[in-house]
Symmetry: C2
Amino acid sequence: MKKRATSLKDVASAAGVSVTTVSRLLNGTIELPLETKSRIQAAIQELRYEPNPHARSLSRGRSDTIGLVVPDIANPFFATLVSAVEEEADRRGLALSLYATLNRPGREIAYLSALARNHVDGLVFVTNHPDDGELASRINQTGKVVVVDEDVPDAMVPKLFCDNEQGGYLAGEHLVQNGHRSVLYVGGPEEMISTRRRYSGLRRALRDASIPMDGLLRYEGEYTVEFGRNAARRFLSEGMPATAIFASSDEIAIGLIEVLREQGASIPREVSIIGFDDVGPLHLFAPSLTAIRQPVRAIGQRALALLVDTNWEQPEDLLSEELLPVEIVARNSVAPPSRK
Amino acid sequence: MKKRATSLKDVASAAGVSVTTVSRLLNGTIELPLETKSRIQAAIQELRYEPNPHARSLSRGRSDTIGLVVPDIANPFFATLVSAVEEEADRRGLALSLYATLNRPGREIAYLSALARNHVDGLVFVTNHPDDGELASRINQTGKVVVVDEDVPDAMVPKLFCDNEQGGYLAGEHLVQNGHRSVLYVGGPEEMISTRRRYSGLRRALRDASIPMDGLLRYEGEYTVEFGRNAARRFLSEGMPATAIFASSDEIAIGLIEVLREQGASIPREVSIIGFDDVGPLHLFAPSLTAIRQPVRAIGQRALALLVDTNWEQPEDLLSEELLPVEIVARNSVAPPSRK
DNA sequence: GCGGTTTAGTAAAGCGGTTTACCAAGTAGA
DNA sequence: TCTACTTGGTAAACCGCTTTACTAAACCGC
């Protein structure tokens, strides 16, 4: 007794015209006399007709849906990014399919092959771990993909990042201006371009200030709260070998602060901290957290624009790499060092 | 020169069998001799065949995709919810389509009509504003929908909330135990069931402690940071008429704290604060924020289970309302009042 | 060596749209 | 009045897959 949804055919016969006519009216590819038109519209109303999107997609060969692959939606950075992409997609009349990879590497590839060629018209791809080349090759086979936030080397598609190097530089500069001459960089996996560039920006700032390179330390790990905690423990157990820490993500900063506070290390008196990303209520932290701010919403918006506006036939368009500017938001977690 | 994706037909002719055979092999509805089977599989490999999901959905009448409608993904509470739903969906082999309504009421209805009957197999629906009845009636027409987190009155579908009343009670109890006898409730829109229940839980706690009801104040507004700020300004301009504030969401609490700090009102010395939701790094706030914790991930998981496991033919199953337990996370934003 | 069953498939009808090609009737111009 | 064009449509193929109904051939027991 389950009623099938009403189809074009039902509408057509109710209005006494052919399905072609209804379809074309709906798609605006025909002009009809008012009388016919309103008869059809009445039938649509009456039957509560809604077109079947699958039939439509099949027929047209596109779905007006784009896919978004992110590591983890619960992470505020990605959440904001998702939100921006969704908003922009909606503005352009596109739907959004969401996929979280949750650090299970196989899933990224599964999404690419299962989806990209058919299901969605394009893919915004955000990864957060190193690629052995497999991902890149899949992306290259797949077609309309833009790589965002973190690089997939060798993927020959448009790429969009924030200016990581500049972010590192701004952080370094700010620390130098506050009189720091020894800083610890706590970053993500070395293979990741984001962490490399942030580090190298930081290094450039220190070098510009003629600070000897042995004043620059580095812990390498993951972009997680947990790694931040571990880094803090290591930092403490090594006797606080720097007066400032540049954390390569808010998550890392949060982990650091947690443990540092817990262990009674005072921020910023004993150690200054700068975070990276600046999403979430960092301004309410104790102390409020100075951070490099990524233009997250702009990234999301631009990612969608790239996907839609890129000319995918034009090989040189596919090699673009765009950097969006970052800024520093100075709060109270950085102060001049009180110890050497 | 654009190559069409390879279809079943291509595979079939490459393997020298009919499309039926390939289709049935893929769906496991046929047993084939090893020789034929591997011939087909070789062809699939060779041609990099990927089934077209739209054709499949059209043909089968379902899409193995569920829809999730939330007000705003950038909000950490919803972000976490989305994440939990996505994870559970994936576990069950379902894809997820995401829709953010961004407080534009028409969009909710658009999603319902455009999607629910066809595009997705079911909908997890989260609203955050009052309904004039339209939404409810649409939901009732639509079919497989579960309403989560905030009620849509008159919608006759399974519903899933956290135990808001109990949350209010726990907050009240905690404040009473700390010696407060005047508390301000800052909540969302009065029409929303969540805010009403939280308030009524709070009132019950005060009544249980024999506190006169004129010790209970209430500001009513929205679940936003901005409303939190306004509430704080009003609270200050009214001369801090309570020794504790129960904020009905983290967002509201954040707005409150921002302004209170800015204006030099010390928390918790001059005024204690309790939040609601407890997502995000509230433990790093100054002071760390005491809050009622919603089991957000459990809600997301359970929502999907409800959607999938409900027997939609069984009218009484559709009227279920399930409450998930909340807990209080005591931190440092509540202290005994220092003034009357 | 004949009926019955199993094996190994196939043809064709959908699913619900879009789109191409075409056509009949009316109308305007020459 | 004849031709040509516009108006107002329609029939049918097609998108790629699933599924139902069916069959040809091999096997099997007697």
